[in-house]
């Protein structure tokens, strides 16, 4: 029996033509089983995989990611999905639920809020509250000044009375 490819019938085998079909059958018969026994690398950190997808990894790190991809069917499935990166419309109720995960009263303390007027805005979010606070502070100050003035006058009168032997009360303007 002639060997496969021995078209000349003289034991001279025609040079092997490296077709895709030959590769496929070789893979199925010999290679698949061998590659199944090759252990894959550990699952990389998400940012490492993302860097590989963006073409930002060096050769050594890229080889480790590719080893993991070669060793895991799930990883290859993930790769296929990630490379098909598209945008998909999200139903509004889903978006609303996702937005609600962070409550609205959360506020950021930044350089801007360190400024006094920004801090005031945090304490007094409504103009009416700010106005009431200003009126309250003004009234308190006025009452405090008036009380202080009366107290000072009474003290002065006591001192004047003590200084005059007749106990005559002098008017402050005299």
């Amino acid at each position: 029996m002639k060997p496969a490819g021995d078209v000349f019938g003289i034991g001279c085998v025609e040079p092997h033509e490296d077709t895709e079909m030959d590769d496929k059958s070789l893979y199925d018969q010999e290679v698949r089983g061998m590659l199944a026994s090759v252990a894959g690398a550990a699952r990389p950190d998400p940012v490492v995989l993302a860097a590989w997808l963006d073409g930002q990894l060096g050769a050594a790190d890229a080889a480790r990611v590719e080893e993991w991809l070669a060793g895991s069917a799930d990883a290859r499935m993930a790769l296929a999905v990630l490379r098909e990166a598209t945008l998909e419309s999200v139903p509004e109720p889903e978006l609303a639920r996702l937005r609600a995960l962070v409550p609205s009263e959360t506020r950021v303390r930044s350089r801007r809020t360190d400024r006094w007027h920004a801090r005031l805005a945090v304490w007094f979010p409504r103009p009416s509250i700010a106005l009431a606070a200003i009126v309250l502070v003004a009234c308190t100050a006025w009452l405090g000044l008036a009380a202080g003035e009366r107290l000072a006058e009474a003290q002065w009168q006591r001192q004047a009375a003590a200084a005059l032997p007749g106990g005559f009360l002098l008017d402050r303007g005299v």
Binding site: L26, M34, P46, A70, D74, L98
Partner: protein, 183 residues
């Protein structure tokens, strides 16, 4: 607002307006990844739940996962895609044996290929093929991808895929011929 323009410092500080903008920009990218992963296992109906889980993970523990993101290493959209993909695959693993990758099955649980002839396949020398060559062969012959699809997946030119496949088979044939000669 574009995803790459989201101010991360304000986002991880918990600013509500920034979070809302982030959700608007990130959800379409992540939903696509989650749904496409789940649909392959017939679990498309779980898309909203898995997407919600991913966003909960992103904002929980004072945005710890988002704080770990390093913008100098990868784009935010790519990184979020990886996070979403990982969550969807974890979900499929959790829900049951309907989707168990061969990688997750212990070797002794796998059915014997040939009970009559338990001969083990030849062990491939570790340095015969590069990781990239093995990946290319598996994508071509186990995932049934075209050369163009493999090129897109690995991020290389189609011509590079062909040349890497050619080199891999050259090495394999030479090694197998040597094994045959030694027998």
């Amino acid at each position: 607002m574009s995803l790459e323009r989201i101010p991360l410092d304000r986002l991880v500080a918990g600013d509500k307006a920034t979070w809302d903008a982030f959700v608007g920009a990130a959800a379409p990218v992540m939903r696509a990844v989650v749904r496409r992963t789940l649909v392959r296992a017939g679990r498309e109906r779980d898309t909203a739940d898995v997407l919600q889980d991913v966003f909960v993970r992103l904002c929980s523990d004072r945005f710890r996962v988002l704080r770990d993101y390093d913008p100098t290493r990868a784009r935010l959209s790519t990184w979020l895609g990886v996070i979403a993909s990982s969550a969807a695959i974890d979900h499929l693993r959790r829900i049951g044996p309907g989707h168990t990758g061969l990688d997750d099955v212990a070797e002794e649980e796998l059915p014997a290929v040939d009970p009559v002839d338990p001969a083990r396949p030849l062990m491939l020398p570790p340095d015969l093929l590069t990781a990239r060559q093995i990946l290319i062969l598996k994508l071509l012959y186990e995932e049934d991808c075209t050369v163009e699809e493999v090129a897109r997946a690995v991020g290389i030119e189609s011509q590079t895929v062909r040349s890497q496949r050619h080199k891999a088979f050259e090495r394999l044939r030479a090694w197998l011929a040597k094994q045959g000669a030694e027998k």
